[in-house]
Symmetry: C2
Subunit: 347 residues, 2 copies
DNA sequence: TTGTATGCGTTATCAG
DNA sequence: CTGATAACGCATACAA
């Protein structure tokens, strides 16, 4: 089974290669009958054009790349689906690319750009401030999704859309304070995090401050390294927190997965959520509502964010409009894991 | 910022393009100093070779594609990591490609093959019997992982590695029977499923039969359509089961996500797991052990499976060895969701 | 050890 | 409307 090329098809059809090319690419000036005939032959022979050659030659690609950092983040699969749909509607095509935690997402994008002639790039997750300047090396317009870069100048070289992590985090911790909690721990990213982890921590500080609660640094539990927001990590960190001997009445974990792990850790110490310790998460993934107790969390409007991100990208690509920064509002979903059915309700 | 090519680098270095090419591709016959100098220039200029051109020219690619069907399956992210590591060790490179539920995985592979000159293909998940014959159209060796195709002939055109779904499913249901359960429901794939769903259902039948329990078809709950093994789906199906009025003492869901949804549905009806209804899952994903109650399940040895799959692929690629079918044993993890602490223990 | 020339499969240009 | 032909960026055979 030899590799079949456009030349073979041309020969089989008794036409020139350019005619075949025109047929495949929906060019306007071609005889409909000729086109039909060519398409038939193509189908019969299972011919698939070589994309490498295409990308090599093409000037105007319609490829939009989506770089995902952290596959395991269940948030992203939904978003990818939405993005693909939006991109499809506009007759562009999407290429998803998985970036490992230790890889540099911009570097990966750079390679993809070389390879696919991208006309647009969407980053899902990731992004430390380090890679910030290197973003400028990308020629295609960039939209950052959920990858917090708070500072945003006029004439930015990229767009960004996400929730306001500080505000949402504040919302959650403020809610916990109003529930009467004074000893609120937080399970957060690494100490050097410059991404959403930092922002959510800032929101935590702010809420405590405005509620006149002194920060107990022993209740701020940082991850050791790596950007692994897993349940196992949540379990481990919560266990350490519990064994520290500090008084804790509530825990805010900066992701739902961490929160689930924390719940189980509390359970395994013979304590109850929320009776002994209330737990709150962040993200609004499926498991949060199916867990027992169901998890209080900030629901990020992922579909809307994804939709807006692609919209902004198209605006920049087609209308050359300016890059923008858009914030979405998260929803504080109060559920069983913070329900206030203990002594607090008695005062 | 113009696109920079190998020619530019050659000019900058004052050498020919082939020398640059040799430097990049670790060719043996090149002056080490020249090579060093070239590599420096390349780095300084952030030059990235155009992969399309490379793939176009190359005869012997070292690209192995991993086609994943069902991103949301948390099982796969771990496997991908293992596979990448193994592939990296052998100095090959991996390209992951996401296949949507409605897409044909073989079609996707075919395109990738044209584009990347693949020397090997690994399929993760998916695979209905429909696409079976079309597998032969792929020129590169194929390994199916976790994508059950029970029938396996000598001289097969592909390899396959997975757990024996029938046996594992049998193991679980048999365990439930031995626990004294007689009214065991199953939450399974669509009625027309020809993949793991069917196999796991067969194991269920077999276990009931061998335990002399008549099958109550009303306890066999099929999904409606689509291959969505989500918690929401599990919740919905379990609710229907509960509202059917049938007597149920245990439920076996063919995936952990479905099982979690089922647990919550039971909870929301005011019943308890496992006291009123025992629940068992399949897969062994993280959440299974962190859920409350922790979930009895079949743990698939994903790392081992992934490792073996790549090993087999390399054997076929390099040693031209025959395709093989390898089964791994799953581990029955008995946990809280089926703990036998009610009347059963009294007889 | 190095440089030059050719071709990979496709699309774009331009002449019919 | 169609066909020949020149790029696209790179790797490689071959010549030096």
């Amino acid at each position: 089974m030899e590799t079949i090329t456009i030349k073979d098809i041309a020969k089989l059809c008794g036409v020139g290669v350019s005619t075949v090319s025109r047929a495949m690419n929906d060019h306007p000036d071609i005889n409909p009958e000729t086109k039909q005939m060519i398409m038939d032959v193509i189908r019969e022979n299972n011919y698939i054009p070589n994309n490498s050659a295409r990308n090599l030659k093409r000037t105007d690609s319609k490829n939009i790349a989506v770089l995902v950092k952290g596959v395991d983040n269940p948030l992203f699969s939904r978003m990818i689906r939405v993005i693909e749909e939006e991109i499809g509607k506009k007759k562009y095509s999407m290429v998803v690319h998985q970036v490992e935690y230790y890889e540099d997402e911009v570097e990966a994008a750079l390679e993809l750009e070389q390879e696919k002639r991208l006309c647009g790039i969407i980053f899902l997750g990731g992004f430390y401030s380090e890679s910030s300047e290197s973003l400028a090396r990308l020629k295609a317009p960039v939209v950052l999704v959920t990858s917090a870069k708070p500072q945003f100048e006029q004439n930015s070289t990229y767009s960004a859309v996400s929730v306001d992590d500080i505000r949402e985090s504040y919302k959650m911790v403020d809610y916990l304070c109003r529930q009467g909690h004074k000893d609120i721990a937080i399970i957060t990213a690494t100490m050097h995090d410059e991404s959403v982890g930092k922002l959510r921590l800032l929101g935590y500080y702010k809420a405590l401050q405005e509620n006149n609660i002194n920060v107990n640094e022993k209740l701020v539990k940082y991850m050791d390294e790596g950007e692994d927001y897993s349940m196992g990590r949540g379990y481990q960190l919560m266990t350490e927190l519990l064994e520290s001997g500090e008084k804790i009445s509530a825990v805010f974990a900066i992701s739902d997965s961490l929160a689930i792990g924390a719940c189980r850790a509390i359970h395994d110490k013979g304590l109850q959520v929320p009776e002994d310790i209330a737990v709150a998460g962040f993200d609004g993934i499926d498991i949060a509502s199916y867990y027992s107790p169901s998890l209080t969390t900030i629901i990020q409007p992922m579909e809307a964010i994804a939709k807006e991100a692609t919209q902004i990208l198209f605006n920049v690509i087609r209308d050359k409009s300016m890059h923008t920064r858009k914030f979405f509002e998260g929803e504080l979903a109060v559920r069983e894991s913070t329900e206030n059915n203990k002594e607090n309700s008695a005062d």
